[in-house]
Amino acid sequence: MATSQYDTIFQQIEVLLQEHAQLQVPIQDDTDLINDLGFDSLKLMEMLEDVEDIFDITYPLNDLANLHTVKDFVLQIQQITGGE
């Protein structure tokens, strides 16, 4: 089921975001990586290292351009891991 896969990825991402974010706020779908969590490109790279390892994926750099919210992020990873 797509929803549950989304939720599973969300939960894993939530842990990583909390670990790497500059600002600590509750993480929701519409939480903004830049404005709410204070990520800059370099901080994000640190987190992407973990994301790539945990999901065993290669995150395409050009996807960064359209990444704003936690939901964008989860959906991108869902797509890269093959969706189901």
Binding site: Q22, L33, I34, N35, G38, F39, D40, S41, L42, L44, M45, E46, L48, E49, E52, T58, P60, L61, N62, L64, A65, N66, L67, H68
Partner: protein, 592 residues
Amino acid sequence: MNFITPTDSQIPLRKADFQNLAEALDYAAKGLSGFNFYDGRGKLHATLSYSKLQQEARVLARRLLSLQLERGARVAIVAETHPDFPRFFFACQYAGLTPVPLPASIHLGGHKAYIEQLRGLLEKSQASIAVALTDFFPYLLEASHGLELKVVGTPKTFDDLKETLIELQPLQAEETAYLQYTSGSTRFPRGVMVSEAAVMHNLAGITKDGIKVRQGDRCVSWLPYYHDMGLVGFVLAPLAAQMSVDYLATRDFAMRPRLWLSLMSANRGTISFGPPFGYELSSRRVRLDSAKPFDLSAWRVAGVGAETIQVEILDAFAEKLAPFGFDRKAFVASYGMAECSLAVSFAPIDQGIEIDEIDAEHLSAQHEALSVVGNIDQKTAVCRTKKLVNCGIPLPGHEIVIRDESGQTLADRKCGTIHVRGPSVMSGYFSAPAATERVLSADGWLNTGDIGYLDKGNLMITGREKDMIIINGRNFWPQDLEFHAEQQPEIRPGDASAISVVTDDGLETAVMVVQYREKDEQKKNELETRLARIIREEMGINCVIELVPAHTLPRTSSGKLSRAGTQRDYLNRQKEQEINRDTSNLPISAVG
């Protein structure tokens, strides 16, 4: 299956003594060395020997000629770390076209900003054709919309062109070898025109006199191809001296800095360069793991350049990696810029970093570098000192002078603007005669805008190009930050001043001081948040926003914003607040 190109080219070493880049490749192609490309997991994913590069570039050159572009027409190449970049770059060399590397660097949520940047560069360079790999192609296409380019495509688009039978006429000594857009202002990019003769002079200087290439040398690089150090230092110089290179894409290095050191270890790399930021990132992020030890004992040239060099960063790196065979004597400080092809001066190899410790107060008050050694009894006197790195003597054929504001040449250890003259200096900025005239005099002197002093021919840099902000190795012009602020309805032109300050941990932070008439706290908070967000989105960095009342920003006598004054005032306000609140987590010292 791919095998890496060997370190030994099996042909006699020639150090860039060629007429042009095409001739350099023709010679390298007789040997076995070449480029190797590693992925984000440290696995080899492609190799491109110089002989294969030569063949493929010549075929592609004949295909490009079918487009019947005028000689010297600009070919924009989104410069990803991938074999297609050197292939297109050298196809231009053979076809008599001018390659223009474009940035392949996207920031979080930065779609719009990247499109604007690409579009600006396509326009400014008056590119005739443009190419990007599949990943970046949609951006290139979007950026070129409505512009008059003959072809915008992926490599395949150009590989599908019909090969002509025209004899190839490579770019000659006086022709422009490439256009290098400086990493400066994104709104006002300047395209540095470097002639074949200039770049060959510089490559000879780098390989023969700077790093003194020898048999057995092998390069490793994660530097982007669209920067002078990545392009000239680690594509052209190795090729011109027939050395193999192992590449890691910049994004993969930023994500996994460990890979740099793993590659150096695995392939017995002897030469690698980076800005201080690269060394800092490595020593901060690399977790030492005895299960996967490094062997950095072959690393003989660990070059440092591109920004003001902070000794502490190099010390930390050397200390952390000494157990793995890293020898701090491998550090080689250098000074250079795209306007001088790449390199101006190198410190001597095998010596490590040489420090000149000077009296910081005297420097800022008298513009003179007074050595503290022997002048101050360090046990009793407390004096604020500054450790400056010796960047060595200029490459042969090049001269450096230090001038004051009126253009007078200054004596040894007197601080002023660094001017350079010599055969590696650019021909000018592309299609920008006024900008060229501002920095390049009729008798060939280049005003670098950097501040420093000489001591018996050795160059020390005390500050870099006026006002530039450097965060994580990337250069930002304050005008670009201020522009974004001034786009806001409540901010007028001249109400924003961007500067950089160094925090307690030695890292540089961008600060923008903005004049704002509103007293309502909620409105002020909203504006602060909005400006910080815009800067993050547009430039990919965190920026501290400080709102101040109208008429706070200091101006020069001619009414222009004084950024030096803004910086001084900002730091004073911070100090006052610190005293008031008795906290110490705020920036304390200014840069250069």
